[in-house]
């Protein structure tokens, strides 16, 4: 037997051996674990995702080798060896686990593994379709090569096969909408970048150039991103949902709405800063000074567009809306602290040889005012709701506690830096280490942390914490108990021993006094004409 044949057979035997071992282990594991279907399939779905993903990319590579476009230097051997090796290993796993999990889904339709598997495939191949699709579409209208069309076909086929499988056997676990939400996100991000580029780098730059500005308009690859992202997002987000809005969709709405608004604010803040520095600062000619306006304006318009669409999904004052408000408030508070420190440093630092001119100060001041305004606006939206409910809402508590702790740590870190520099100087260390920045950061971050944490503690103290009452028994000796039983909490077991002498009438006032005196402890209560007496009892 030649070494060539042996070198081919040996890896084959090893691969077949590994397949047999893994398949056997999965079967034995399923038998041992009681096979509930809940979580037991996770490993199987993970292996399936790796096998399907690896096999699909190998097939795409094989297609690209067979149809390589205008290949100037062509050597298919390496690509063929790589693709065939990957296909040889992954395909048996992919086919075996595809069939196995399909039959198991019939028995355990609520398994979370199917949802996670579809999410992973959506994430990987959704991104792959967007990237290769943009390349192919752009290549059709520009001089660059459109060589990736074969990859696009394979990635698209993978998505379609999984879409059909998901329709045939819809995921029914908690958070079953996760794959669709992930697909929506991929489409929306692609669409947003495309539209922002189309506006900022294209239409608005063209308009700015027509007005005499110094720009260089361009439309590639923004148009392709807009078209493909729009199609993908439209299919995922605007087709009817088969499930109620669950946690994944709420998180998606909160994140997209927040980031869209922050993008819009960032764009508008940049334009405002440019305008102020142009009016008050010492700047270059308008055509040069405002050359970045098309980009900022484009991103602001797209941010507002996305915000308007998704803000409508937050129409009731619940924790989802609060999560959005406090997420924006958190980012804005970070920004406020950062720009406040920047402004202090610009104002106080000496010996700065680069930067620190009037433009920088004006920019920092303008952005600081905008950041602080956004922070205060969103941090005070709780005034719109019921005070007790707002104080108890988890988004507010997480915002105050989380930001308080994070800013407190930042302040503590900068305090350590300040002390280190001071002690070093006291010990005779010579250096030009800047003290303004750590002191400013200590003061600003520390103040913000104090504000957050003091509010958190004050609100926590003001919230009436429900008392935990253990079950207890009360035995009352009385001639006329009245409605005292109803005045005890539900944890109380009340027994009444009726006296036959007519003494010990329990009025409403007396009942309140008895309930207060018992104090949720197992007791005997003796009531007569002189009032009541209580003796503790063992429950």
């Amino acid at each position: 037997m030649s070494f060539g044949l042996l070198s081919l057979l040996l890896p084959l035997v090893i691969v077949i051996g590994i397949i047999i071992v893994i398949v056997g282990a999965v079967r034995r594991g399923a038998q041992r674990s009681g096979d509930t279907g809940e979580g037991a399939d996770l490993v199987a779905y993970l292996v399936m995702a790796i096998a399907v993903g690896g096999g699909s990319f190998a097939l795409a590579e094989l297609f690209a080798t067979a149809f390589p476009g205008d290949q100037l230097v062509f050597d298919p051997t390496s690509n063929l060896a790589t693709s065939l090796s990957a296909l040889l290993v992954s395909t048996p796993f992919a086919i075996y686990f595809w069939r196995r999990q399909a039959s198991r889904r019939a028995s355990y339709p609520r398994s979370v593994g199917w949802t996670l598997y579809l999410t992973l495939i959506e994430l990987v191949f959704g991104v792959a379709v967007m990237v290769t699709g943009v390349l192919v579409l752009t290549g059709l209208f520009t001089d660059s090569s459109a060589a990736s069309w074969t990859r696009l076909v394979v990635y698209l086929a993978v998505l379609i096969v999984h879409e059909l499988a998901a329709r045939n056997s819809p995921p029914r676990s908690d958070g079953a909408e996760l794959p669709t939400v992930v697909g929506s996100g991929i489409g929306l991000v692609t669409l947003s970048i495309g539209l922002a580029g189309l506006l900022g780098d294209g239409v608005l730059s063209w308009a700015f150039e027509a007005l005499g500005g110094a720009t260089d308009p361009g439309y590639s690859p923004w148009a392709a991103m807009s078209v493909l992202g729009g199609l993908y997002w439209g299919y995922r987000w605007w087709t009817p949902w088969h499930t109620e809005s669950g946690l994944p969709r709420r998180i998606y709405v909160v994140l997209t709405t927040s980031f869209a608004l922050l993008t819009a604010f960032t764009g508008m803040a940049a334009i405002l800063a440019l305008s102020i520095t142009y009016v008050l600062g010492d700047t270059s000619p308008a055509g040069e000074h405002f050359r970045s306006v098309p980009v900022w304006l484009g991103s602001a318009i797209v941010g507002l567009f996305v915000w308007l669409i998704h803000r409508k999904d937050l129409d009731t004052r619940d924790d989802t809306l609060r999560a959005y408000e406090y997420f924006v408030a958190s980012i804005a508070s970070f920004s406020t602290v950062g720009w406040a420190v920047a402004l202090i440093v610009l104002a106080l630092q000496e010996g700065q040889i680069v930067g620190g001119d009037a433009d920088d100060v004006l920019t920092a001041a303008a952005v600081l005012v905008i950041s602080a305004s956004v922070w205060l606006w969103f941090a005070t939206r709780h005034n719109l709701g019921d005070p007790d409910e707002e104080r108890a809402a988890w988004p507010r508590r997480v915002h105050l506690l989380g930001m308080g702790v994070i800013l407190g740590l930042v302040g503590a870190g900068s305090l350590i830096t300040t002390l280190f520099i001071l002690i070093s100087r006291l010990l005779g260390e010579r250096g030009s280490t800047d003290l303004v920045t750590p002191i400013a950061l200590t003061v600003v971050a520390g103040t913000a942390a104090w504000y957050m944490l003091s509010n958190y503690l004050k609100e926590r103290a003001s919230m009436a914490s429900p008392e935990v009452i253990s079950p207890f028994e009360v035995t009352i000796v009385s001639s006329h108990p009245g409605g005292i039983s109803a005045k005890f909490p539900k944890q109380a077991t009340v027994r009444v021993l009726h006296r036959g002498d007519g003494a010990g009438v329990i009025t409403d006032d007396l009942a309140d006094q008895i309930v207060a005196a018992v104090g949720h402890q197992s007791s005997f209560v003796w009531v007569d004409d002189d009032g009541f007496r209580i003796a503790p009892a063992q429950s």
Binding site: Q71, I95, D143, S144, A147, S148, R151, N168, P221
Partner: protein
């Protein structure tokens, strides 16, 4: 009942096998495209094929003498790339990745400007490198060519960027 359940169990593996065999056959049967040697793309192909086959003298034949300066085949030997393929245009890395270092200026020097005798053309090429384990990565490079005496010559410091070291 879904239509998918009527598909026999052997059908998909068989179809996949046939597809793979077909693609392998096509891959092995085809070769590189043959560009017109008198075109800019053809000149780049001549240069790259010569570099790939280690025909250093032939590679320098399409390099404009005025730009070649004192560079010889020995200067190109040290910059040989072991295993690569080349495709016309920007591949996957072209749009989202960065272009390779394709000018002498970017590596810290400056090539003396030469008077251009004729028209200029820029050709985008995606170089795909393969390592010993079969994994690949792309590099987008650009070749600058000038038309002189009815022939397209490569000028500047073309991939794999050896001119800066010998001019």
């Amino acid at each position: 009942m879904s239509a998918g359940r009527h598909i026999p169990a052997w059908a998909i593996p068989t179809a996949l096998g046939v597809l793979v065999v077909g693609l392998v056959t096509i891959s092995l049967a085809r070769g590189p495209v043959e560009m017109d040697p008198d075109s800019p793309e053809g000149a780049v192909q001549q240069y790259l094929l010569a570099v790939d086959d280690r025909r250093w003298e032939d590679a320098l034949e399409v390099f404009h003498p005025q730009w070649r300066g004192s560079c010889t085949a020995d200067d190109l030997v040290g910059y040989h790339v072991d295993d690569f393929t080349a495709q016309l245009g920007q591949g996957d890395s072209g749009m989202f990745g960065s272009r390779g270092v394709d000018t002498f200026e970017q590596v810290g020097g400056e090539i003396e400007e030469q008077p251009l005798p004729g028209g200029t053309e820029f050709i985008d090429v995606t170089i795909t490198h393969t390592d010993a384990f079969g994994s690949t990565w792309d590099e987008w490079v650009q070749f600058e060519l000038v038309d002189d005496d009815d022939f397209w010559w490569i000028v500047g410091d073309p991939w794999p960027y050896f001119v800066w070291n010998c001019r």
